[in-house]
């Protein structure tokens, strides 16, 4: 049986923790709003880009550039795993890593070579345990407060550089799609070869300046950066959403715990008073 002082201490410490989780939840809520607006603001560009690419790609007969049609093999896979830099956000990081891990094991079982590019510290820490040798690079975005296109572009350029050097055949981006505060969907998106739904071919002649091939050659690398950028933004929104609901849960749990501990505290305090009273009364009767 813990003493009254122990119980008091316990309640105080849970209360302090509750304050922290509450504050974190509020911070996450504010950041979420910002991240969500950023993700929504970036959507039109990526969507227009897709339309434009689909328009162009449907007009091209035959293979087209390697970024569109691939290298013709799928021996080496590059997995870009984008996670958060910080923890305490529920299952956010783990669920992305789990999806990536399943893919890695499946690819390895097929006898393919796998390379991993980690964006974000948490994913690196989790993947390092099992696949340290496969990780080719880690991108640290810890100092970045608001992800801008200038953060995503270097990653895209790096990936394209590797592709041109023939270091891999297929690139896939792993991130978490933001659906709502309680639902984030870990997603794998194929970047190279570009996964474009070709619409109906455009009616009439589409004039191109300079030429179709030159435009595609300029557009496709840009598309990679844009897709990575969009993934990172979705990820940022998902992270804050996940943290918000995780911290909300933690706050609620702390509340319950405080309630329980307070009941125990009050009961034992009452029991002590009753005991003392009985002692006094029985002492008086004995006289």
């Amino acid at each position: 049986m813990p003493s009254l002082k122990d119980l008091r201490n316990r309640i105080a410490s849970v209360k302090a923790t509750q304050k922290i989780t509450k504050a974190m939840q509020m911070v996450a809520a504010a950041k979420l709003r910002r991240a969500q607006t950023a993700a929504e603001a970036a959507r039109p560009y990526a969507e227009r880009m897709e339309t434009v690419l689909a328009n162009l790609a449907s007009g091209i007969s035959g293979g087209g550039p390697a970024l569109l049609s691939g290298t013709g093999k799928s021996e080496t896979h590059l997995l870009i795993v984008a996670t958060a830099e910080r923890g305490l956000c529920g299952g956010f990081n783990s669920s992305i890593v789990r999806l990536a891990r399943e893919r890695i094991l499946a690819l390895q079982a097929e006898g393919k070579t796998v390379k991993i590019l980690c964006v974000g510290k948490k994913g690196y820490e989790q993947l390092k345990r099992q696949f340290e040798k496969l990780i080719v690079e880690v991108v640290d975005l810890r100092s970045v407060r608001q992800i801008g296109f200038e953060n995503a572009d270097p990653i895209g350029k790096k990936v394209i550089g590797w592709f041109e050097e023939g270091q891999f055949d297929v690139a896939t981006l792993f991130y978490s799609k933001f659906r709502s505060v309680i639902a984030q969907i870990p997603t794998a998106q194929q970047l190279i070869p570009a996964d474009i739904q070709c619409g109906a071919p455009l009616s009439g002649a589409y004039e191109c300046e300079p030429g179709e091939d030159e435009i595609l050659a300029a557009l496709l690398p840009r598309n990679i950066s844009v897709q990575i950028f969009r993934g990172l933004l979705e990820n940022a929104a998902s992270e804050q959403g996940a943290r918000m609901s995780a911290m909300d849960n933690a706050t609620r749990n702390a509340g319950e715990m405080i309630k329980k501990q307070t009941t125990i505290y009050n009961r034992s305090r009452q029991a002590m008073i009753t005991k003392e009273l009985i002692e006094i009364i029985s002492g008086a009767e004995a006289l």
Binding site: Y45, R48, N55, Y206, E209, P210, I215, S225
Partner: protein, 132 residues
């Protein structure tokens, strides 16, 4: 005058969306004006100024740092980055040129070198226009 739909988007956000009368676009092979019912064209942009005619006497000028323009009934410009021309001053432009020159110095492949030197030319042209 007849209007058509125009959209200017940068990776970060939608910068402009609305009905306009005419837009002057700095295409890689020269300036061209898009008006209603323009034939479908797709072109790469060079660094330069976009001029938007919303109505007879209302003009907006924006500086873009390259990108793509897609004309298909409506005009969509995917800009690398864009900002109002008033916000662009000589110092920033000089900075851009310096960046491009650094790119040129760092460039290893032939195509990258060509791209960087083209960019410098475009920016210098713009600098001259701004100074005039």
């Amino acid at each position: 005058m007849a209007t058509f739909h125009f959209e200017l988007v940068s990776p970060e956000k939608l910068l402009y969306s609305g009905e306009v009368e005419a837009v002057v676009v700095p295409g890689i092979e020269g300036l061209f004006t898009v008006m209603k019912d323009h034939a479908p064209v797709m072109t790469v942009l060079k660094a330069g100024v976009i001029e938007i005619d919303e109505a007879a006497n209302k003009k907006t000028k924006l500086f873009v740092r390259g990108g793509f323009a897609d004309v298909a009934g409506s005009l969509t410009i995917l800009a690398e980055s864009a900002k109002p021309l008033e916000e662009l001053n000589a110092a920033q432009l000089a900075q851009e040129i310096q960046n491009a020159e650094e790119d040129l110095a760092d460039a290893t492949s032939e195509t990258a070198k060509k791209q960087a030197s083209e960019k410098i030319d475009q920016l210098k042209e713009l600098q001259a226009a701004l100074a005039a």
